[in-house]
């Protein structure tokens, strides 16, 4: 049941724009690993995730899931294997938490087939994993941004994907929920064998929870590798255009990125 997500020579962008947002992206995400996407604002992390999720047609190259081109295999084939968490707010929807999570089963049941006991189990499991069981009857328009973030994650887990893509899942969450979400992703990769791609802003979260880091900058995938290989002062100074210090985590030894000391006026 292992799955692997790959991109080969991928160019991404919107509509008939003249230039690609990203070009020549090669990626390989094996089952059981977490890949973090890092890069400055506007570098194209969301565009890349949307292209990998088959929501945006590539302008060149291919997205492969288990060695099959997702555009050849079609929408429902892809979304039975791959789920994506996007950071949209719920708008004015008044559905309950459970009703939204249940929609995750649409990929398996289509737009019309009735739900089965198997679907109920998947929904219950997704609610358990995200600790939403207690609030499953609340309507989503009354949730905090962080609670809604967990609902969208639960909805994507109800899809029972083998590949999980997440666009800034820790935005709007307070510190403890950020750690809880990242721990959950880590567990899903380790115990369930999911291939996880997650875009993050916090370099140290990437260093702590990702097996590999892909750095998106300058219109392409600049470099990809282990946290030790990517999070170096030289690479980060070039990409983020400001000086940084890189130290070690006192317990794990993972690279920790620190801002430079405050400049004092003399």
């Amino acid at each position: 049941m292992s799955a692997r997500l790959r991109a080969r020579g991928l160019s991404c962008g919107y509509g008939r724009g003249l230039t690609d947002v990203l070009a020549a992206v090669d990626l390989d995400v094996p089952a059981g690993t977490v890949l973090a996407l890092l890069g400055p604002n506007g570098a194209g992390k969301t565009t890349l995730l949307r292209t990998l999720a088959r929501l945006l047609p590539p302008r060149g190259g291919t997205v492969l899931l288990d060695d099959e081109d997702v555009w050849d295999r079609g929408r429902s084939w892809t979304h039975r294997r791959l789920a994506v968490v996007l950071p949209d707010d719920p708008g004015g929807a008044r559905l309950t938490v459970e009703e939204v999570v249940r929609l995750g089963r649409a990929a398996h049941r289509g737009w019309w087939l009735p739900m089965t006991a198997e679907d109920d189990e998947a929904v219950a499991r997704a609610l358990e994993l995200t600790r939403l069981m207690a609030m499953r009857h609340r309507t989503v328009d009354a949730l905090s941004a962080g609670e809604w973030q967990r609902v969208t994650l639960a909805r994507s887990l109800a899809q029972e994907p083998r590949v999980l893509l997440l666009d800034e899942p820790t935005a709007h969450l307070d510190w403890s929920f950020q750690i809880e979400i990242l721990d959950l992703l880590d567990r899903l990769a380790r115990e369930e064998g999911l291939a996880v791609v997650v875009s993050l802003h916090d370099l140290n979260q990437a260093s702590t929870w990702a097996d590999r880091i892909a750095l998106i900058a300058e219109g392409t995938l600049l470099t990809e590798g282990t946290p030790e290989a990517v999070l170096t002062p030289e690479i980060l100074a070039r990409v983020y255009n400001c000086p940084v210090l890189v130290d070690r985590h006192p317990v794990s030894g993972a690279p920790m990125v620190l801002p430079p000391p405050r400049r004092r006026n003399h």
């Binding site: 892809t78 929807a93 009703e99 929609l103 737009w111």
Partner: protein, 327 residues
């Protein structure tokens, strides 16, 4: 049976009671016992109940059902608590399509209902599709943007209807009366003509409940679920427009029923469209039957067009919802 299915049955029972009681309302008041006697017997009571009032009450219920269900669908599709067939311009589109047919056929009842309905359907599709496409191009539309787009479409289409009326003044009176929205003088022929379209449109919306749930979360989220979004929203526009068009073809423009009914229904059965669509249809039916009772009696012996009454009652409701959704 789930709690929400039970509540839908309650709405159905309320509709049955209201509709039966409405058979006694009008210039000749009939007690429940006389209504029951008239349904099976002979004489003047029977003529009033069976030939005049029964088709009218049934038609009010059908039109309310169509407008309520279409309103719930438009509110989900546009993610907007103020959307309804009237507000987004689908009703005006129907009216223009129907008027074009009426004017060009010169009121020939022979080609009759089918041609008028088809014109109304195409008009509703074009208007709703235009508003949906223009708000989709601009990205997720704020509530006010949609209202402005709907108003713009409505007033341009309405102006063309007025132009047609001025150019064909022999049809003027008939079209004006119909534009105001009325159920007066409709017989069994109209009921039979409108029923198939309303049933198909309503059933279509019931079947599309899951895509409507997905679409109510926004297009991007709906796409992430792996549903064929474009096709589904096209089906929703088509089914809601069919229901709207049938309602307009038989009763003219009756505003705000499609706005109010989904809000009433949501309080009863929640927002899931599997329950919301039928509940909104039933709430719309109850509302319109009651409104038509009022229209028949409030300034008797003169009869108000029911469309004027729903507009008078619906305007303030619209403002209340607008104020609440602004927060």
């Amino acid at each position: 049976m789930s709690r929400r299915s039970a509540r839908i049955l309650v709405l159905l029972a309320v509709l049955a009671v209201v509709a039966t009681a409405s058979l006694g309302v009008g210039s000749v008041r009939l007690s429940p016992a006389r209504i029951l006697a008239a349904l099976s017997g002979e004489g003047s009571d029977a003529t009033i109940v069976r030939d005049l009032r029964a088709p009218r009450v049934i038609l009010a219920a059908l039109v309310g059902l169509a407008l309520g269900a279409a309103g719930a669908a438009y509110q989900g599709l546009f993610r907007n608590p103020l959307a309804d067939p009237y507000v987004i311009g689908a009703s005006s589109g129907s009216a223009l399509g129907a008027t074009l047919v009426m004017v060009s056929l010169g009121g020939a009842g022979a080609l009759g209902f089918g041609a008028v309905s088809l014109g109304a359907f195409l008009g509703a599709m074009a208007a709703a599709g235009l508003v949906y496409a223009s708000t989709a191009w601009w990205g997720p539309a704020p509530i006010v943007t949609l209202l402005l787009a709907g108003t713009a479409v409505s007033s341009s289409l309405g102006a063309v209807v007025w132009l047609l009326m001025v150019l064909n003044n022999e049809e003027l009176a008939r079209i004006v009366l119909w534009m105001m929205g009325s159920l007066a003088g409709r017989g069994w022929a109209t009921v039979l003509g409108g029923t198939p379209y309303i049933v198909v449109g309503f059933a279509g919306l019931c079947v599309l409940a899951r895509p409507l749930d997905a679409l109510s979360l926004g297009e991007r989220q709906a796409a992430a679920l792996g549903l064929p979004l474009r096709r589904m929203s096209g089906f929703v526009v088509a089914a809601a427009s069919l229901a709207t068009a049938a309602a307009v073809a038989v009763a003219g423009i009756i505003g705000f029923v499609g706005l109010i009914a989904p809000h009433v229904a949501r309080a009863f059965v929640g927002a899931r469209h599997r329950y919301l669509i039928p509940a909104s249809g039933l709430a719309g039916a109850i509302l319109l039957v009651l409104a038509d009772d009022l229209a028949r009696t409030v300034v008797a012996p003169v009869e108000l067009p029911v469309g004027i009454l729903t507009a008078i009652l619906g305007g303030p409701f619209f403002l209340i919802v607008l104020r609440r959704s602004g927060r």
